[in-house]
Symmetry: C2
Subunit: 346 residues, 2 copies
């Protein structure tokens, strides 16, 4: 099967709305009247953005949602996608399953695949996505104001918890052993782009970003772009991580006592891991956004209307010397969190 | 150096014309009034689309031109690009040189880099490019009509000849040894997107494609999309391959005589290789287009005005049973060319 046959068989459908769909050197597309295009591109590399254990159908779905999550964060309505698929070999049943997952996700949002290419090489999936947004209603990172509340659209940390569990070597002698629920593995492998919420937040949110890298670093992006400080209440962060005592998570920097008993030591290690997952692991793809406190009830209604377990997790304050994100414990005391340490959690 | 620092240092510049450039979840872009966007994406994989010997600066240039060539083939004016860069490690001097080559090429066409990402993994460069084109003036693959002439915008085969030479293992005992000129290696490593020609061909060309894969297969795309036959005169194809007797190239299927002397055998092998390079090797990135014969002089003037060594190399005929491309020898006899054989030239 050649590249052309592969594209023809699995990735080509007539476009309904493009001026010219795939099948020429370029596709021809235009935003709807009064809109501009929000455009984003992301590459998923094997072993880096997904584990070999993921099924091809889930991988196809993931590639779509990861990209559409960026559109959602701008308040854009997804329209078109282009796919660059690099495969070490053409395994027809693999490609068929991948394409099925991809198309199901595209169809869910009525996104048309209008171009792309396939090539041979180490597996990588690069998707470019375009969406419509009226330029006056776009959600950016720059509008957070002191007094605004900070919101997250759903549970945080489960994907990181699942990835940690999946990466354990199974030996575990003397080490902390954690397990991930099927729901947590779903959250890691099959994130859901919050497209409808992004659209609903037009005119409500003052700034918005999606959590692809980690809550703290995304909050830092909002703070830097907006020139504000942000305070996060760690106990307010919603999460599906249940096998940790939430009161432990809310404590400042629990320290592993080397003379603690095994159970006690594991309890502290779990709490530290949970803190790390909440604050620093990625793959969450929930929206992190700010809104004026006067819109608090509106946001609550929007989240409830979409059945999202989001929550208000902090607030925007006046910037001190430099835009900074602070994390507060259960007693509203500043937690001593070295972001560098969190980045290199082992 | 983190991903963010890498992007900040090498790949971020303020956009002049985008509604919102890079630095948010998406860029915001719109075609100029009266235009739509032509959009294309291409991935360059190490060892597949470039050799390890290419300098990073040339690779950056190549990534841009390969993508803009698709825009040129649609008659679109390049506007924006997004870059997905996958690198096995961050070598700052390599990235600096790559970025310099990339920016020089983008600047040449006033293209703005409005988004993208970097990630760690096997080296790959995925670029998405957008250009403006009025929908009524777009060059597609579908407009070739019987009676039209077939044109190519410049020399063909040199890139394939250079790649063949570069891939020789240097041993060569008893085998054909060829050398590539610096100009031919330039043609392979540094193709030039025929952007200005694509714009000038609006309203002149009836169909157009760029030669990325090989003259015969690109001509086949035009024939299939337009539902016509195409005849190509092999001796009319312009090429920089000089160390082959052109009269040999124009002969139908020269056969290697196993009892031929070494010199005679090499002469035939060179002619066969030259035929292969003309008809079936890629990386040319010249435009292949059709135009009514009434526009012959206009096309000659357009090519001359841009200092392009293009030529009329054939004609469009009525389709017989199936759209087909035929190659004619110096005596206008049908050459017996098995495209399957050409694809797997060894």
């Amino acid at each position: 099967m050649t590249e052309f046959e592969l594209i023809e068989r699995f990735f080509k459908r007539r476009s309904r709305t493009a001026v010219l769909g795939n099948g020429d050197d370029c596709a021809l597309v235009a935003p709807a009247p009064g809109n501009v295009f929000a455009i984003t591109t992301d590459t998923l590399v094997a072993g880096r953005h997904f584990l070999p254990s993921i099924t091809p159908g889930r991988l196809g779905r993931r590639a779509v949602h990861v990209n559409l999550s960026d559109l959602a964060a701008m308040g854009a309505a997804p329209r078109y996608a282009l796919l660059s698929l690099t495969l070490p070999e053409i395994d027809e049943s693999w490609v068929a399953a991948f394409a099925a997952g991809l198309w199901a996700a595209l169809d869910e949002f009525e996104v048309e695949l209008v171009g792309g290419n396939t090539t041979r090489g180490p597996m990588a999936i690069a998707l470019t996505a375009l969406g419509d947004v009226p330029p006056g209603q776009v959600l950016t990172r720059t509008g957070a104001c002191p007094g605004d509340e900070l919101w997250v659209s759903g549970p945080v940390g489960d994907a990181g918890w699942a990835l940690t569990a999946l990466l354990q070597d199974g030996d575990g002698a003397g080490e902390l052993v954690i397990t991930a629920s099927p729901a947590q593995i779903d959250k890691y492998e099959c994130p859901t782009a919050r497209v409808a919420l992004g659209l609903a937040l037009r005119g409500v949110a003052s700034s918005c970003i999606d959590i692809s890298d980690g809550l703290l670093s995304e909050a830092q992006h909002l703070a830097s772009a907006s020139g504000v400080d942000i305070d996060i209440d760690i106990v307010a962060i919603p999460t599906g991580i249940t096998d940790v005592d939430r009161s432990d998570v809310g404590q400042a920097a629990p320290v592993v006592n080397t003379v603690a008993t095994g159970n006690e030591r594991n309890r502290i290690l779990r709490a530290r891991l949970a803190q790390h997952c909440l604050l620093a692991t990625g793959d969450t793809y929930e929206l992190l956004f700010t809104a004026p406190s006067s819109r608090h009830d509106d946001v609550v209604r929007l989240l409830a209307a979409q059945d999202l377990a989001g929550a208000c997790i902090g607030r925007v304050t006046t910037s001190a010397n430099r835009p900074a994100v602070r994390v507060l414990d259960a007693q509203s005391r500043l937690m001593n969190i070295e972001s560098k340490g969190w980045d290199h959690f082992a």
